[in-house]
Each structure stands twice: as C-alpha cells, then as structure tokens.
Amino acid sequence: MPSLGADMDAGTLRAWRRGPGDEVVRGDIIAEVETDKGIVEVEVYASGVVERLLVEPGTKVPVGTPLALIRAASEQTTPRVAIEKPRIATSVRSSTPSARKLARERDLDLSHLRGTGRHGSITRSDVAAIAGSVELAGVHEPAGTRLRASPLARARAAVLGVDLRRVEPTGRQGVVIAADVDRAAKAPTRLSAAEAGTQTGMRKAIAAAMARSKREIPHYYALHTIDMEPALEWLRDRNGERPVQRRLLPAVLFLRAVVLAIRDFPELNAHCDGGRAEPSEAVHLGVAVSLRGGGLVAPAILHAERLNIDQLMSEFQDLVLRARAGQLRASEMSSPTITVTSLGERGVEAVLPVIVPPQVAIVGFGAIQTRPYVVDEKVVARRLVVASLAADHRVSDGHRGGKFLAAIASRLKEPKEP
C-alpha cells in the first residue's frame, strides 16, 4: 500500500485492474485505492508478471502492506518483488527543515532513516542520533558497516585464523590492532549463536558449507573393509595396564591411523581455493563432533602429526568436551586440513561423507561390527569396520584414494607405539 500523501496512514483497496499472470510494465495502473481524499489509481513500480494478489478488494490495510507479488523478468523461479512501501514512502516521507539542514551539514542521506516524529516524519533529533553514531565511528558512514583493522592485525588474523569481526577492538577510533588479535587467538571464545547456539543459525551454516561442497567439489568415493581384530587386541592389552581415565578409545586408533597414513598423500591434506590445491605441512585433523542440541562442528586437533597416541587421545577428549560446551577457539574452527567423521556409535555400517570446503578429503568410519569373514579359506567371526573416503576429484584420483585407505588399513592391522 503506497503512501499517497504525507498524512496517509492506511488505504482501502477498491479494485484490482490486473490479475495473476498478467504482464505489467512500470507505470501501468494495477489497482484502485480509496483514501480519505478519494479514489486514486495506483501505478506499478516494477515490471514483470503478477504472481499473486495479496489483498482482497474492500480491505483496508496500513501503508507499507504488500498488495501483490510481481515476478521480475530476471527472476526465473522465486517470486520476490512485492509492491512495497519504501519506494514511494521514502520519496514522500517528510522531514523537518532543521533535520534537513543538519543532514546537509553532515552529508547524511535521510532516505533510509525511519523518523520518530508525527506520521514517521524525520526530526532533528533523529538526524542528530545518527550523526552522533557517525562521529563516534569517525567516518562518514553508519557505524559498524565496515570492519576497521590495522594492516598488521589483518595479516596476523589471517595467519592465526582469527575472525576479525569477533575481536574486541582497543585501537583508536575502534580499530582492531594486532594485540587484540593475539588476545582473541589465545582466549577460548564462546561461539556465536550463528555457530553454536540456535538451531537455525547452525543449520544455515552447515547448509551453506555442504551446498557449496556438493555444488563445487566433484566428489569420488572409496570404501575399504578393515579387519579390526589386531588393533582391538592391541588396544585391550594397552588398556589393561592403564587406569580407566587414561584408556584409549578405538576412535583414537582411527585418528592416529589417518595422521600416519596422510604423510604419504600430501595432496589429500590440503586446502583448495579456486581449483588449486595447497598441501599443508601440518596435519590439522578435523574431527566431526555432533552437538547435543543438534547440528555438528568439525574443529581441528592442531598439529596432530606432532602428537603421540596418548597426546592425541587427550587432545581429542578435550576438543569434544569444549565443542559441546561451545568453547572452541577460532583457530580450531578455521584450520582443519583433513577431517575424520565416525558414525560408529549410531550403528551405521559405512558413511559416505561430504567434504568440508576448502578441504579436499574426508575419511569416514562406520561401526565396528562382528561379521563373517574369510581367513585362510575359512569363514570366521571377525570384528570389522568399513573405512570410507570422499575426496576432491580435481585434486586426486580414485587410485590414490584407494591407496590412502589401504595405508590406513595397514596402520590399523599393525598398531604400534608411540
């Protein structure tokens, strides 16, 4: 419902002159609206096809209420363009002379400002309010629209994997300086609602990453069934000598096997940006952790290649605990070079995982299950696990991927210290 006069608050739709499916061109008369001053013909402000009429004739609606949906020629599928208030309301929204004078002096654009005066008119105090916020920020743009960080802070944030938008600035004029980045990198930061809190925020983040992955990364998959008897026997012996709190979990055997095997497959321990893979010296091992409230995160155990199996175990437990408490560090979130997902607890036999961009590979492990297995021409009961690999076909081929899985299998068949 357009504002057809400075004092108009609402209007009654009298008649539609066009209907669903009709093509309209900007300037066409689309409807008749009754105001206090009489019946006025309403022009359409966007060209396209009328998708849907939203208001029945005879209905009185406030200014700003969408009356119809029009699909623009450029929009193939989703009808988005509605007849909305800002186009006309902006042009006629009133402002006081002193407000306009102040706005001219401060070089401020009033067209997006919502007034607090009568009928939404913009007063001097409205302008002063935004002028104040602009002055506090020290720039002629609304506060908070642009991140201000020193060059050194930017360089350091890139190295440490710190999101500058989450850093509390202490520099002059609200500039993020290097010391702020250092502090943020050290401090365990509670993840924002978008990542750890609300379902929808996390869901959106997962949706965006996974959709991008499936859209951009040509995945290939490989599966390898691994006999877990030797590894589990080794684990039993090891754990027998240990107090409960220092016992190792089978999951850490998987992590350890991946870390050791990846050494010979540097192309799979990499980030791929713009089609070119950059192998990483360090193995920052991403671990998919499901959260109690739903959703999941895949933070990294940093420099897993430097850890022995006990250190890996304690880092893994610490990471899972902190992930579930929402206390991950920014560097852990942004740096995995390859990820492991283990769905064994859910009883699934095998998982065909989706690569987390910009990584190029992800390794999955199903449940360890007792199955018939042929050893020395005899069918015997053995505990088996299916290891799976999803990898970026732009970077590697199934031949290499298969060898990588075989390397993981051979590590698990001959577990050893450290």
């Binding site: 020193s150 050194l152 520099g171």
Partner: protein, 329 residues
C-alpha cells in the same frame, strides 16, 4: 687521541682538517671561511694552520663559487664548498642540479664530480623567514646527488670524511642548532658507515625516525616517553639520499608503529616519503597509521615564542607517539 668531549662544530672542523691533510686534492672554499673563520666559526683557525691554498675565501656569489667547485672537481680536485645556509644555496641550485648531479649521466660516464657542498640548515636561532629553512628534501629529491645530515658529534666528522671520499657530488647538511652541541668524538676511530641509518636507541613500542637537528629532540622525547612506560626506538637516518629502507623497515617490523620527525614543511616532505616507503614495503607490519611531526606550514616567524610553536618540539613528538599507541598501551 682517544674519545674526548667536543662540539659538533669542532667535529666538522676536525673532519675538514683531516681530509685536507690526507689528500692534496682537497681544499675548502666559501664565503668568509678563511680570515673570518666561517659564518658559524667551523673553519676558525684553519687558514693559519693549513694556508691560503687550502682555505680559500670567495666572492659573495653562490652560483659562481659552487660552479667553480664543480669545475675544480671535474679538473681532478676534491673541493669542499661551504654555502653559508641552505637558503643561499637556492642561488646555486642550477649548478648543483643541472651540472653536478647530471654530468656523469650527460657524459655517458666519462665525467665524475667529486664535489662536497656543506651548508647550514634549519631554524631555531631567530633568523626569521629567509634564513631558517629546511630544504633537505629538495636535494634528496634529485638523482645524482647524495645527501648526508649528521645528527651527532661523531657523525659530523665522519660525514665530511665519507663525503670527500665519494666519487659523486654529496651535499652535507649541518643544522645551525647543533654546532654548539657537545658529544663524544673519537678522532682516531675509522669513518662510520654514514650512508646507512643508525639505531640510536632500541625499543619495542614505536619507531621514531628522524635526522639532523631533530635527533636531539627525538632522543629527549624518547626519554620522556620511557618515563610513561612507552618504549621507543630511535632511528637516525644520517643519509637522506639514498634512504636506508632496510634499517627503517627492520625497525618498524619490530615496533609496528612509526612517528617521523622532520623539520621540513609537511607537504612534500621527506617525512611523507618515509611514510609512503614504509607503506610500500611494510604495510602489513603497521599496527597504526604513522604520524608525522613537521614544521607548521608558514614562513618561519622571527618572534621566539612563535618560532618555537612552528618547529617540531619534544612535546609535539611525545604527543604524536601517544597517538600511535593503543589506548590502553
């Protein structure tokens, strides 16, 4: 002789004496350098000591005697020409820019001009608008010239000796306010590498880059800053052309903050060039926008309090340093 206390003036004189004694091609000439002993008494006593062949008074014509210096250098001599103050050098700038600086290029490398031109520079002695300029940047702008600006007593001697030793024209700027400054002079020490900057004090929080007459002010500001817990590094450029980027960038890489102190007017200043060069070469080392402390852009006033207000001062340097530091630093 080992290290002893001397004035900057005595150190320059010592450099000139030694250069003349070491090499028969070297001589000093300029207005009143002989019988009068120099406008700033730098060459006092040298005429008696070294004789009129080597210490030569000239007519009051900068263009003529700087031109004569270019000619003598072309003819195989090693002249040291004293121009009373930098503002008078404007009368000889054609000789310096069009002849001295360009002849090696113009002759396809056949000619070299081993000329040294010393001149007093700077303000602070109530000599008013015509005798208080800092035009170091004008000469540092010119390819073919080298520019030295000693800020310490030892460098005052070493810059003369290094300049005389150079095969190309070198301009040496001696700040008027430094001549009476006392410091340590080791007359037996080998000539320092004055073609590169010196880190006079090491620090961690910011780099004060300066040269010439602003060096003592920067050191005093550094002491004041240290008393409030800010730890500055002081870099004395010494050579203004070519600039020693390696030392400047290495220091900014340690401190990530910079204040440049330069007595020249700010627009088109050496300070501006140093900021631009640091941005070119070390942008991602900067944790704050660099500050410049320069002279206020007016004709330098005669009145003492106004002159003080125009020039870089310890308090203005301290203020600029605080500005580049974080709020809770």
């Amino acid at each position: 002789m080992t290290a002893a206390t001397a004035t900057y003036r005595e150190a320059v004189r010592s450099g000139i004496r030694r250069a003349i004694q070491q090499d028969t091609r070297v001589f000093l000439m300029g207005e009143d350098v002989g019988r009068y002993g120099g406008a700033f008494a730098v060459s006092a006593g040298l005429l008696e000591e070294l004789g009129p062949e080597r210490i030569r008074d000239t007519p009051l014509s900068e263009s003529a005697f700087v031109g004569a210096g270019v000619g003598a250098a072309l003819g195989g001599m090693r002249p040291i020409v004293e121009v009373m103050t930098v503002n008078f050098s404007l009368l000889a700038i054609d000789q310096l820019v069009n002849s001295a600086a360009a002849l090696r290029h113009m002759s396809g490398g056949q000619l070299s001009v081993p000329l040294v031109v010393r001149m007093a520079t700077g303000a602070g002695r109530q000599l008013a608008a015509q005798h208080s300029h800092s035009f170091e940047n004008w000469y540092a702008h010119v390819p073919g010239l080298k520019v030295l600006a000693p800020g310490t007593v030892q460098d005052a001697r070493d810059c003369v000796l290094a300049a005389v030793d150079d095969p190309d024209p070198v301009i040496v700027f001696e700040h008027q306010l430094l001549y009476n400054v006392q410091g340590t002079l080791d007359d037996d020490a080998p000539v320092a590498d004055v073609w590169h900057a010196a880190v006079l004090e090491t620090g961690t929080d910011l780099t004060l880059v300066t040269y010439g007459g602003s060096v003592p002010k920067a050191l005093a500001a550094a002491a004041a800053l240290r008393s409030e817990g800010i730890n500055p590094e002081v870099v004395d450029l010494r050579c203004l052309r070519p600039l020693d980027w390696q030392t400047i960038i290495a220091s900014v890489t340690r401190t990530h903050r910079m204040v440049v102190v330069d007595e020249g007017w700010k627009t088109g200043s050496l300070a501006g060039e140093i900021v631009a060069g640091v941005v070119d070469r070390g942008f991602y080392e900067l944790d704050a926008a660099p500050e410049r402390v320069c002279s206020v852009e007016v004709a330098v006033p005669y009145a003492k309090h106004l002159e003080d207000a125009v020039l870089p001062s310890v308090s203005r340097i301290v203020e600029a340093a605080r500005k580049v530091m974080p709020r809770h630093g």
